[in-house]
Symmetry: C2
Subunit: 768 residues, 2 copies
């Protein structure tokens, strides 16, 4: 762990005391979002110290010019990236003509920041002595409404403590923003119109190239000691800013407050000519309710979310805080309301990683959303890929594949590839497997087969075609090999026969073949429609089968393990524990070639295969592979600890499972990877959820039935979670010696606990 | 071949007819240089069509900010690149107020360009009808003086044909230039002073960051019908340009001419405060001689060069033209006068490849310079690397090596790495071997051992240390392996156990050990001095030996060949001849992953080892490996055909050897690789020389003796070359049935011809 300033608390993320060196880290940790937009926890008022300003609108991206030193054929010329959106939270504060700025003021006392996860708001309070010796007390509260997801609200209160003061609130909106990660110092926004009416201001702007039209808006109300006052604002506007100044002579001890409502309307949801009028309606609704009622609604909305997705942990505040932080951030990022959206690795908390969609969604996020939301949310995530199938086929064509073979991009926003490292873009092709696996996983969990004949099969066929073409027949081995790939462990590039890739390739082909057969028999109309489209011949299917049946898997007789890739045993097999600590993290200390020739594993690779396909291996095989590979694993990817936690729990190694759990659940809170200032690791947070439910709870789905093998870390008194299994809500509560199961609804449910089947009836607490 | 517009001629490169689409190609092909500076064949007068302006000063470079999409530890933050220097050749021409511009004029007749390689000048002539219907005849001649290597001279003649005309010559100098390949649109030059006196103008400028001070200068004389006339120029100057306008009413049929002298003085050779006064002296010398005398001197200087380095070919004009073009360009690029300089892959003809020094120098150029110049030129090239040893050690440290291990950069200008592709920068480490090999090769050819105790041994030790540390012990193989490398065949990245790399690594260690022993015994004082510096212990030497003695080489029993790398036989081994032509060149048609998993070889790799170390393999082994690898070789590197030509000749396959010879010698003239517009392939031109001398002539040095096995392609009547072997000049003349040897000087020389020893005495033509 690299930082320890977040106060342990069951329901809140709390920072006390102001430290300029923590500003960027806290801006990430205290981020807020509502699925439609989100923002880093930037201060409302001016801050002249080091900060990373970020406000993001879901689905609004920009095709930036690709920057590479050495061009390779097949790189995208432009790639979509998340775009910093106009600022609507800004409220500059003038106190007797001096700007309140925590970086320059004389003294700051009692600085406190709280992200209340139960109720969904962010607050800040402090006392500051300005350079002009005026001392003010400040309290702020901010949230992005879940109910009205185009708007957020801010309450900003200033009380001069040691004298009267002339205080000016300057709420503003500003479209003159850029990205931190801009490649060419390009401007991304074209401001079309800056307007205001009464207390409202609007900036209409569109993104360059992509032409996403947005209206950024605000309206403010001011109060003295809680009583609304009418102050005529002074209004300044230029080509991309609108500033309203509310000036008031505030008596010592009096509280001058502003309620600011603001947000975005976007042309994904409205006609672009209507953005201002919709914004007016939204502001009307919000101001009619007022800050307090909106806040109350917010609490209710979060209560609904928590009622389904909360995990409780007794006896370990840090673990409890960690899991709730993860669940909270996932829900802030994606609520499954719009199938055009997806889950970016950094959510709305930073710009890194360019696009929004990685294989993380399929491999890590879908199980969380399947179990804690209505199953149509997961289906919506699958449809996102179905809608991108044509682009995946185009992408494969760029790399020389044909006949409808589909290679999904490594990183995308709109279906097009966003990444340009050849060893990733062109070679980290296992991502295609995860997309097929998610189809399988969705059906396994939900029992909803309808998706496959309707949409999924076409995706499975495109992917199977890719694998068949991508494999090479090795005359030398008399097997099919897959050359030149990067596995999930990105600390190996351009290797041959990555076990995981070969395994999932074979699986994908077989799974596609199996479903083609099933649909042929059971859904003849769908079958005909699909075959008319994809033109599959028997010889082609035979070619697929030949590849699947004759896939090569590198294996060591000596160690009795599958090898991560050809040649793995040529490495100097020094365990991570024997590596000097000064060398860690290796991705910051070592040159790339040294990392590549080392045995060190960034994240589960062979073990990822054992995780996805655990039913195809025995526990002894898992144990042998875990013991062989984990000691070389540096867990420098956020996606690593959760899988290892689940597997350690499965092997009964609860101490190790617990250590991995803490690492995954507090990855950002404790900044294990030295990078939280860049944003949070949103997608791996779903892995944290899995490490409790699948790891400690031992939950699996087999033969349409939920299986549990509950375990509990020694450090915990008890823990509980809920899952939605095929529209039945089951609450599981695990303590040292017993497990309770409680079912909502009216129908009973058969489950297996520690290999014994039992029937749970609603409203009967079943204790094992 | 991709173009065929150069007229076959024994001594000249000739273009007839004007074609806008050939402008950039011809700008490369007709480049001129004198070792100290060089320039593309840009027109003197304005040209508004597509052009690539380039004038370069040896040793003047710029540390540009590295541009990469995805940063890796160990990349250079800045890297040195060749820098476009101020323009001194410019002469704009006004005819009745209209600018002469071949891109816009109405008609061009009789356009002809000639690069006379015998005499070292570039000429151009044409008739043009301007938009104002004035028809002019233009003749120009330009050269960069070999004797006065800071100056060049231009004669520009204009004759109005169809009427009188007001003609203005506007010679200018201009430091407001940029690079074609600028990464950030940076300005590279800081202009310090623009001044003029009488007919002379000077621009003092320095490069940003590197602070190379230069003075660009010019002086002009004007003539009517060959008679000097005094015309007072109108002078315009701004912050980085100085323009002199010489206006004259020229009668129909009269020839108005300007002689312009210009060039650079640089602070590598003079105190920076003296650059203008030195320039004045240079101009004084040049103008006193005048254009004609300078041109006569130029002819003499080239005669001296040709007398030693010419290769004649009878009966095949294109082959003759090709070899002379190669020899001419090599001599234009590097004359061995300054050990701070080296041979850039594009010489003074383009910007591509950033730095100036690649392993090309050691692997390809040194043999040419050893045989056609005084041997101190080759020694100077070795010293260049000795002078960079500390930086090579630093470079290795950045990649995690220690204890004086040296890794020479892949690309450099000043000893620092200039390249930032991890698979090249960090992994194409075989370059280190070529640098050691050149030390061996120099001693073998010249017999001058003194370089090794004086300087070479330290280089050999640093390199041996690198290889020992870079090898990994594979417990699985019970051998030392070298993981994660890129061999000379850059169409494979991050492979394990590249045969060539492993072989040269072993050789380097053994060669260092051998020389340590020899110097210990024969040069005890040097030995002590070196040991005091490098601190070599017996255990360390034992570690070296262990690696060398137990190096692993991948080998196929089935094919009875060494494998290019582990896993080579897993590829789909489809020969190049079975590849559809539409797929070629694969580096322009295929995505990188497809290239990597294909068997296709960019340039000699395993065969490069067989070339360097041919005495360690039998002819049968060579034949087997040639037959195995050549069919997969696409020769998409300029360095490929020459090695294959030499080996084909050695195997007696003269038709194939001849095809490769044409490809190497006319690579640029016929633009085999679709890229001549970017500049010429200078370093591979030395390979062309080798393909005649070593390939057809069969020349080798064994046991301090020259060996020959002369062969001749069927297409040729005879050919001849000269070599300087240990200060004795031997001329070899090969025809169908006999070979003549002729020796200059006073001492006799023992040589071996077709395995028979014979003694050649001076001035006795020996015929075999």
């Amino acid at each position: 762990m690299n930082q320890d300033y977040i106060k342990p608390d069951n329901w809140s993320i709390i920072e006390e005391g102001f430290d300029v060196n923590r500003v960027k880290s806290s801006e990430s940790l205290f981020s807020i979002g509502n699925g439609a937009m989100g923002q880093r926890a930037n201060f409302e008022e001016e801050y002249s110290g080091s900060t990373f300003q970020g406000s993001y609108i879901a689905g609004v991206y920009y095709p930036d010019k690709t920057r590479v030193g050495w061009w390779k054929n097949g790189y995208p010329e432009y790639f979509a990236k998340v775009l910093n959106a106009p600022n609507w939270i800004g409220i500059n504060i003038q106190v007797n003509g001096e700007s309140l700025d925590l970086f320059t003021c004389k003294k700051i006392e009692n600085f406190r920041r709280e992200l209340n996860m139960k109720k969904g708001w962010l607050s800040r309070s402090f006392k500051a002595i300005l350079k002009n010796d005026i001392k003010v007390e400040v309290k702020t509260k901010r949230f992005l409404s879940l109910d009205l997801d185009e708007i957020g609200a801010i309450k900003y209160e200033v009380t001069p403590i040691n004298s009267d003061a002339e205080i000016v609130f300057q709420p503003y909106i500003d479209s003159g923003i850029t990205n931190e990660d801009t490649n060419w110092d390009d401007k991304f926004w074209d401001t079309l119109n800056v307007s205001h009416k009464n207390n409202q201001a609007f900036i209409e702007a569109k993104t360059m190239k992509t032409d996403f039209y947005t209206c950024t808006f605000m309206e403010s109300q001011v109060f003295i000691n809680g009583k609304s006052v009418l102050i005529e604002p002074n209004i300044q506007a230029d080509s991309n800013v609108s500033i309203f100044s509310y000036s008031h002579h505030v008596k010592q001890g009096e509280t001058y407050a502003i309620h600011k409502f603001g947000g975005y309307t976007v042309d994904r949801n409205h006609d672009k000519s209507q953005l201002v009028s919709v914004a007016k309606r939204v502001l009307e609704t919000a101001t009619e309710k007022g800050f307090s009622q909106l806040l109350e609604d917010q609490k209710q909305a979060w209560e609904t979310i928590w009622s389904m997705s909360d995990i409780t942990i007794e006896g370990d505040v840090k673990a409890q805080q960690g899991i709730r932080f993860n669940i909270f951030q996932l829900n802030q990022t994606y609520l499954g309301k719009d199938s055009r959206l997806n889950i970016g690795p950094k959510g709305f908390t930073g710009e890194k990683y360019g696009g929004s969609t990685y294989w993380d969604t399929e491999a890590y996020c879908i199980p969380f959303y399947m179990a804690t939301k209505d199953q149509k949310v997961a289906r919506s995530l699958l449809e996102y890929r179905y809608n991108h199938l044509d682009k995946a086929i185009e992408n494969a064509e760029k790399l020389g594949f044909s006949n409808g073979a589909a290679l999904y991009p490594m990183v995308t926003m709109n279906g097009e590839e966003c990444h340009n490292e050849w060893e990733i873009t062109f070679e980290e092709i296992h991502r295609n497997g995860a997309i097929a696996f998610a189809v399988y996983n969705y059906y396994k969990y939900t029992g909803d087969y309808s998706y496959i004949p309707e949409k999924g099969l076409e995706v499975l066929i495109g992917i199977a075609r890719f694998w068949q073409q991508r494999a090479t027949f090795s005359a030398d081995k008399n097997k099919y090999v897959i050359l030149g790939v990067t596995g999930p462990n990105e600390y190996e590039n351009n290797v041959n026969n990555n076990f995981y890739t070969n395994y999932i390739a074979k699986w994908c082909i077989n799974y596609a073949l199996e479903n083609i057969q099933k649909i042929k028999v059971e859904y003849p109309a769908d079958y005909k429609r699909i075959m008319d489209k994809v033109n599959l011949s028997t010889p082609e299917l035979n070619d697929w089968k030949k590849v699947a049946d004759n896939m090569y898997f590198p294996f060591s007789e000596k160690h009795n393990v599958y090898l991560q890739q050809d040649g793995f045993l040529d490495k100097e097999l020094i365990k991570v524990t024997d590596l000097d600590n000064s060398q860690r993290p290796i991705n910051q200390k070592w040159s790339w070639d040294r990392i590549l020739r080392s045995p060190y594993i960034k994240q589960a690779d062979t073990l990822q295969g054992f995780y996805f396909f655990e039913d195809e291996f025995t526990n002894e095989e898992l144990e042998r592979h875990f013991d062989f590979y984990e000691p070389f694993t540096v867990h420098e990817s956020s996606l690593s600890p959760c899988v290892h936690s689940i597997q350690a729990a499965k092997l009964g190694r609860m101490e190790q499972a617990y250590t991995f759990y803490l690492r995954t659940s507090r990855l950002d809170l404790d900044d294990y990877n030295h990078e939280v200032h860049e944003g949070l690791h949103i997608t791996s947070m779903a892995g944290t959820w899995m490490s409790i439910v699948e790891g400690f709870g031992g939950m699996r789905v087999k033969n349409n039935t939920l299986y549990f093998e509950p375990k509990i870390p020694e450090q915990w008194k008890e823990y509980s979670f809920k899952v939605n299994f095929r529209n039945q809500i089951l609450k599981v509560n695990v303590s040292k010696n017993q497990t309770h199961f409680q079912l909502e609804g009216t129908d009973s449910l058969q489950i297996s606990v520690n290999s014994k089947m039992l029937t749970i009836t609603p409203d009967n607490l079943v204790t094992i």
